[in-house]
């Protein structure tokens, strides 16, 4: 192996990257775009649930309850409805996910024996959101009825004393604000890097075949290993720049707390990048056409990273067979590491297992990629 030949390929490849504005754009713009699209688009928090109300009574008491709903950040109150038919129509058309109907005898029931009731109608096509909405509605109503109860006691001249037999003191660690974005965004960094990394190298060998430069290249003494290193190095650099952009966006734009060390972050990011670059390179060697290689590389990186890395769906909730499959998804290790680095600030020792797995993965991929290329037209 000669360093001079590796350098020659690095220089050549870098010149080609710089002189091809289209690929430069892919390299720098697409990660930005993906970060913003996914960063804002993927949001598992349920807020501003569209809410319709039908107040059949229109009393002070019923309006009081509706005020509570209006004040809650979880609901966004739509225009009041005049009839049951209207409610039905709004639920059907999706104008609202939740409808609250206050019956005509609401305040009378309250005054008589504290037995007022309201009806909640839920659109449960998305069962998860419906569940969450029902819980939020229940807590709004509970807060309201607690207020009513206190007033009731006070009016009777009693002393207000609330009694809570068991009180759970919940303290939330690592993602104190329970903002789903905080664990989604680090995962998005992994997803963007998997996609862009493999795309970068998926074209590199296929392009030489398509443009007819490969025949001359393989007639020179260049060795497959030199070719691979020379081709991967510039893209590794580009990939690290991309990663830095994504990570900076995560910390400074999306304000995800970062508690780990930069060394650990960049080391593991480098390992993951090596894996995806090698996947792209391998595909490029095998497929020999730019369009085909780019499609296959996309399929091989995006799908497993989205579905099987624990980025959106928790791995420990998957059936055992699927869980077993996740072990061959490299993003699984990186997502674990990067989430822990961002939110937990875990020490090296706590992350040793996934880091070693990722390192081993990178080693295996480098091995396969270096052996894939054959200097022959056959």
């Amino acid at each position: 192996m000669k360093w001079r030949r590796i350098k020659a390929i690095v220089v050549k490849e870098s010149l080609q990257i710089v002189r091809d504005p289209r690929s430069l754009m892919i390299v720098l713009l697409i990660p930005l775009l993906q970060m913003f699209m996914l960063g804002y688009g993927v949001n598992l928090d349920v807020q501003h649930i569209p809410l319709c109300v039908h107040d059949r009574e229109g009393s002070q008491a019923s309006q009081g309850l509706l005020h509570q709903f209006a004040a809650s950040p979880y609901f966004s109150l739509q225009a009041p409805m005049g009839s049951d038919a209207e409610i039905r129509k709004s639920l059907d058309s999706g104008r609202c996910n939740l409808a609250i109907v206050i019956p005509a005898g609401f305040s009378k029931g309250l005054a008589d024996n504290g037995g007022g009731s309201v009806q909640a109608l839920l659109d449960a096509t998305d069962s998860n959101t419906a569940n969450i909405a029902a819980n939020y509605a229940r807590s709004v109503v509970a807060a309201y009825s607690a207020g009513v109860q206190m007033e009731f006691i006070r009016n009777r001249g009693g002393t207000v004393q609330t009694l809570t037999p068991v009180d759970m003191q919940a303290r939330v660690w690592f993602n104190e604000d329970l903002v789903s974005r905080n664990f989604i965004v680090p995962g998005i960094v992994a997803l963007v890097m998997a996609i862009v990394g493999a795309q970068l190298t998926s074209l590199t060998i296929a392009r030489e075949w398509e443009r007819g430069t490969m025949e001359l290249l393989i007639s020179t003494p260049v060795q497959p290993m030199e070719l691979m290193i020379g081709k991967l190095l510039p893209y590794f650099l580009v990939g690290m720049v991309d990663a830095s952009i994504c990570l900076a966006l995560a910390v400074f734009w999306f304000e995800v707390p970062f508690r780990g060390t930069l060394t650990a972050l960049f080391l593991t990011t480098g390992l993951f990048l090596t894996v995806v670059l090698c996947i792209g390179y391998y595909v490029s060697v095998a497929i020999r056409s730019q369009v085909g290689a780019s499609q296959v590389a996309l399929l091989l990186t995006m799908l497993p990273t989205t579905l099987l890395s624990g980025f959106t769906f928790p791995i420990d909730q998957m059936p055992p067979a699927v869980q077993a499959v996740t072990y061959i998804v490299s993003a699984r290790y990186y997502v674990t590491i990067i989430k822990a680095l961002f939110l937990k600030g875990s020490a090296w020792t706590a992350l040793l297992a996934p880091i070693l797995c990722l390192a081993l993965y990178a080693l295996v991929m480098v091995f396969f990629a270096s052996r894939a290329f054959r200097k022959t037209l056959d």
């Binding site: 000669k2 001079r4 030949r5 350098k7 020659a8 220089v11 050549k12 010149l15 080609q16 002189r19 091809d20 443009r211 007819g212 430069t213 490969m214 025949e215 001359l216 290249l217 393989i218 007639s219 020179t220 003494p221 260049v222 060795q223 200097k375 022959t376 037209l377 056959d378």
Partner: protein, 315 residues
């Protein structure tokens, strides 16, 4: 220089099949240092496949190739540092400049900086390309691209040069400069294998091999091959070559007719047929500006030999 080896390229029983098709069948020849050896034949004759096997970018199914004493099949990578190969399709990087391309190949062949810089300067000057050193290869004309290809393949002083149809689509001036460079390489002792579809170009080679359907039909110097051609060649200059071609075809003693520019070449079994042919043309009302016996060109020869063997197909 490997003067003692006496043979720079030795090919023995070379064979390559693609499925049912035999592209090269039992090809054998040898090329001496300082010799320009031409491979001539129609498209599909197996010239490119043979070149690729010699450049060791394709593995033969059978046979032996020895280049400068190195068994190419046993140690292809070792052989590659002595070979330069110019594929038929332009193989340089169009988004790199002339200089950057040359430098890339100099680096791949590990040529010392001072050596390749001096060589590049000389080669580019010979190719009349010095003013274009900073131009992107993609913006060069067809002729300049080929000359750049040649310059790139020569930066490392190869002992064997393999050129696959290097002058296809090249203007006459560039073509002349191209050959000038080849002749100067010949005096440096480089063995050259050049495939061409241009038969006039084949005449510039020291020896030529005629390939058809993957087999070698003849191999000799252009002059010796011409002598093999039985009969005589008549050149008739006429205002209407196509009519003349149709009128002469099928006459007794006529073996083949070929249209060439302003007239036709008629291959006849003997020079004495000229009066008979002249009479036939006059009878058909076709004017004759001149009619004389000429030395056959390689093109005439090739067609004549193909006819003789009754192996006219191959495309």
């Amino acid at each position: 220089m490997s003067a003692c080896a006496a043979v720079a390229i030795e090919v023995d029983g070379l064979e390559k099949r693609f499925g049912a098709l035999t592209a090269v069948a039992g090809l054998s020849f040898s090329v001496r240092p300082g010799e320009i050896f031409g491979l001539v034949g129609p498209d599909g004759a197996g010239k490119t496949t043979a070149m690729r096997m010699l450049a060791s970018v394709m593995r033969p199914d059978a046979g032996r190739i020895v280049i400068d004493g190195i068994d190419v099949l046993a140690s292809p990578e070792q052989a590659k540092s002595h070979i330069s190969y110019m594929p038929q399709r332009f193989g340089l990087y169009e988004d790199l400049t002339v200089d950057e391309n040359i430098r890339f190949y100099a680096d791949l062949f590990d040529v010392p900086a001072r050596v390749w810089q001096a060589r590049a300067e000389k080669l580019l000057a010979a190719a009349d390309m010095t003013p274009f050193r900073r131009r992107l290869a993609g913006q060069l004309s067809g002729g300049m691209k080929q000359k750049l290809g040649l310059a790139c393949s020569l930066v490392h002083t190869p002992k064997v040069l393999l050129l696959d149809e290097p002058t296809t689509g090249v203007d006459p001036l560039s073509r002349r400069e191209f050959w000038q460079i080849l002749y100067s390489l010949r005096s440096e002792g480089v063995a050259m294998l050049i495939s061409t579809a241009y038969l006039d170009e084949a005449e510039r080679c020291d020896r030529i091999a005629m390939l058809n359907a993957g087999t070698m039909m003849y191999c000799d110097t252009p002059a010796a091959l011409k002598e093999r051609m039985p009969g005589a060649m008549l050149e008739i200059i006429t205002p209407d070559p196509r009519a003349a071609h149709d009128a002469v075809r099928g006459l007794p003693g006529v073996r083949g007719v070929l249209m060439v520019g302003t007239g036709i070449h008629v291959h006849v079994d003997s020079g004495e047929r000229r009066t008979q042919i002249a009479a036939a043309l006059t009878a058909a009302g076709i004017g004759i500006e001149s009619l004389e016996e000429v030395a056959p060109s390689i093109e005439d020869l090739f067609l004549a030999l193909l006819e003789q063997d009754g192996a006219g197909e191959g495309g």
